[in-house]
Symmetry: D3
């Protein structure tokens, strides 16, 4: 099967890193393609960025579906799970977000988990997703390490800061697992887990495996009801290409 891992921001280096994380867990018959959108923000650190990342994400799915090798499933690799409902309307195959994936998997490992994310201003969105996914009681705390998304890769102290933040979160919240709150942290999950002694869930790995599971089960979303294809209509201005 072919799984498309879409990085909703436009930083190609981050896409490569995410695709590598996905490949590291994918099964033998699963091919991973990393996708960088053709429009949108260089990183997602606000509701504004998140909202404006959605057109690029939808465009990437439309292009894939119209291509000769449409993917069998899409992973939205940003912890805000932007555009998930819209993506599911236009995709005939499963779409999963990494926050959704990580929270569901973490809930299978014990009674409670903590989230460690990048900037404090993203905590509200993580809280909202936790409620949306039914995780209010399981998610015992959401904590920020205050490293901006694009500095995760360049800051020499990222690993040390995250290890400390994850350990503190686990102790403070009495949690059985940690969920990493940014796709850019994917490569550190195993290291942190070894250091703090409880499972650390990276949404890219979790999402890739859940997506592969859905495709294996042939569990495509219903094509009727709330997530049926959107009624066609005219679009104007610079977004005209989304209409018809």
């Amino acid at each position: 099967m072919l799984l498309s891992v879409i990085n909703p921001n436009t930083t190609a280096a981050m896409t490569d890193q995410i695709a590598a994380a996905a490949r590291s867990v994918a099964g033998p018959g699963t091919e991973i393609v990393g996708v960088t959108p053709t429009m949108g923000p260089a990183s997602i650190e606000s509701h504004y960025d998140e909202a404006l990342a959605v057109p690029g994400l939808l465009d990437a799915i439309i292009r894939s579906q119209r291509s000769e090798t449409p993917a069998d499933g899409y992973l939205v690799a940003c912890f805000g799970d932007p555009g998930l409902d819209a993506a599911r309307e236009i995709s005939p195959v499963p779409v999963i977000g990494i926050a959704e994936a990580a929270m569901h998997v973490a809930s299978l490992l014990g009674r409670g988990f903590s989230v460690v994310t990048t900037l404090g201003r993203t905590i509200g969105r993580a809280e909202e997703l936790s409620e949306r996914y039914g995780m209010s009681k399981r998610c015992r705390g959401i904590h920020a390490c205050e490293i901006p998304v694009l500095e995760l890769e360049t800051n020499p102290d990222t690993a040390a800061i995250l290890i400390d933040a994850c350990r503190a979160a686990a102790e403070n919240d009495g949690s059985d697992a940690i969920v990493l709150g940014c796709a850019g942290m994917a490569d550190l999950a195993h290291l942190i887990s070894q250091k703090i002694g409880i499972p650390v869930i990276d949404g890219v790995a979790a999402g890739t495996l859940l997506l592969q599971s859905l495709v294996t089960m042939q569990a495509a979303p219903a094509s009727s009801g709330e997530l049926a294809p959107p009624p066609p209509k005219t679009y104007s201005g610079i977004l005209a290409q989304f209409g018809e």
Copy 2:
């Protein structure tokens, strides 16, 4: 004060109708300007439309703020309340959505209300908003009249169908008030209320009055925390204008 009522779809006739509804309740010192975005869908009837209406909405706020007569408050006149968090980040003045406004006002009139919306496929979003605004227990039912947004104006039976749907919803749910689930229904609120004998809340009127109230109280959102202005960054492709 100057209030900007933004119709997030690109149908100018609907903008005029919405602005008229806002003006019909605005106080003596309140000026209403209706705004149609320069990009996006002709109507909003899916998660896809809603997501792609947000860039136009944000663009409209940015233009207003950069103009010589920036508005003192923004009303987002689509019942899906698209882009509310993003809009609040970029606006130094209050922003309100019409679903938010209508549900809060309806909750002041009794123990429970029902929502009557356009297409059945929008019920899921209304449910999600109801939970987000803390209205899960107050909102006793969400019902569709199955008239598409742009037909509300042209269908000769709109009033009759809505009266029937609102009466049935009130009886079935034992509700004390009805919330109309589309900005395009604004002009029918009083008629329906007279026919069915309980209050019928139109979000455009409710939102205009709440927005006017916030401006009067000088209750601008905090400029720090989750809704602080977004960190500036590069945007690519057709969305490059949203960067800085």
Copy 3:
């Protein structure tokens, strides 16, 4: 329109102060009358006081409705929102409580707010109201400044103590707004907001504006159902006047 702002305690000086706060936000065509009940406690600082403030409140509404100039709406200006359901049964026009008004307005300004009230023993009631109004997730903390109601006016340190308490609440809870938990704090809202940099909502101002909005929308409560006029019956003893 004529709005009646009822101070449910019998301290006339406090009524004057509350009416002034209401007038400071009322629109050009809105007349405010402050009302002090003819029976009940001098201040409300317990469930006992609150329960025994209700007869005076109901009496004030009955007198207003039987007068030559019945009010177009009633604001119940005590943060425990005493007697709201009973008041709505006997009033043909809207009735709003200041806790209800303040919490709904605060929820429009961000993801979470804190309440700062008078005595610690009133926290339980505020919590109960927060749940009743669907604000459990929005209301992040309720804190007491431990100044009794009637000392708010006379204590020279009231402003300083409240500024500190509001700042501490906002920081501790990560809140986007503060709700003042007593009608007697109304005149300090703007000062505190300036000092701590986030919006501070006074329920008297919020309630006056919401009430004015409901009257403008002609959104009177339904006269059938749970809030229909109470079935007439005999009342005994010192409460005999409430019967018939």
Copy 4:
């Protein structure tokens, strides 16, 4: 021990009936005294009646406590549980409401129960109490038999109507028990249970037994915190007797 069963309405015949129901379950060493207030409504069928029943209830507790034979516990025998928090503030011994008692007991008998009450307009209050007591998930439905309180005794069809209503509620809601929603139904609990084959809980019996249990355990409410005695103060008008 001496338990005081207070009928919050002023109909003495109903007090007698309630006291008899209490006596029928009280233990050997438990004496029951039925109390009719000296003020208030003849029956409680609205929020207005309920609010105005509270002064008489509080007065009855104050008189008992000041008497030579103060009761060891108070049962508030109206299904709206009026004035419970206020009563607990002024009572040094346990106070229980019959709705509270009946719902807690019913929840011990299976996964869900239904309430069958008098008039439809009281359903909202029962719903509110169910949430207050943590019974939202257990309470599967609240149904009205539409017999006014004082007709329960005189209407020759009361038993038949209630049997039908309870059976229908149990079947419709899939409930394991029925809770009777009015003190005036106390004498019918066993008959209905025999007819419909599942337990039928009368709050007067349940409340008498829970109150007796609390007294036996010496579980008086804390005298500090939210339910500490109310701060003394002046009361005015016809309620002056409540001050001091």
Copy 5:
């Protein structure tokens, strides 16, 4: 009436202590018999112990029912309330758990209570029960004293440690009552209550009194529906005796 108090672990000395606690509150006509199972763990300190205590508990009920003097009600005297649903299926008379009993009783004494239990690893189960019984909002904290079950009796510092833990819990959580989280703490309830000044609820006493109340009310569980007797079938291996 005859009430059977079953200690689900196999330590007979603990059974004696529990039966004594039950007898100390039972009414004049109530006989208490303490029962130690014939199989299972010496104490219950894990989910593993709890699961493996259930066969012995069920066996004890079956033996009692088949005996010449079947009990009129069963109290399950372990704070994890093991096997409650299964016990109710096979018992024609009421069955109550001590956590269930203690939490319901504590909720009648104020707005919030705290639980003080033995080992930290049992907190998750107590949390789960609190939700099951609708006590999520009432139960403000669950705290461990870290004394193993069988050391409660032998550790000379048990009383002092528990007094400190209960006082700290009450202050930290602002609670109106304490619930003791182990049947082995039953004899200390009054002492602790005297020391800390708020009610301390022991589940053995609370459960005995609730059970006696249910029997008095003749409130046996429904014999149809979810808790009807289990369909008979073959059982294999060492559990063969449970079949047929």
Copy 6:
């Protein structure tokens, strides 16, 4: 990897069927072994059966871990998810229940799902699990087909009855997916899905794939905290083997 699929009842033919369902979705490197316990009930259709299935389940895990080829993960293949917490305490590798797996997977496919189970008396347990897993809002209905577990295989109408029940559930609840409520229905999932046009999730397939995902991610449960290995102690009677 080696995954052990444990059928908690003692019917070997059902174990074979379950193992086949697991094998049909397992990845190339995943070996499935089906396990029938050495003790317990022939089928699980009551809380009694479920409680008494746990010793056999725990015994199977202990035997596997002590064997030369301990499994890398355990799937508990009964929709009541019996003994999950206890199993996690004694297993150093992941343990998943099929209800848990099916509900999490179904929640990834749309806004709501329905469960179709065997006997009506199991609905309560499914409801409880749905809440435990945070699925209360997603799980829109639980319906029984009233075919006993062991007749699923032999009843010639099973497929037809289930297709009808699933279609009715989807329509009635407006659901986007169906969850099958018994391991014995595993082989019918694809057929039903084809007939009714929305995804039908079998917990055996879902659980096998989630378990395989956890093992791939090396996401073993924490060995400290609530799920740490149970403290060793003496066990008595026929359960002596569980002690040590």
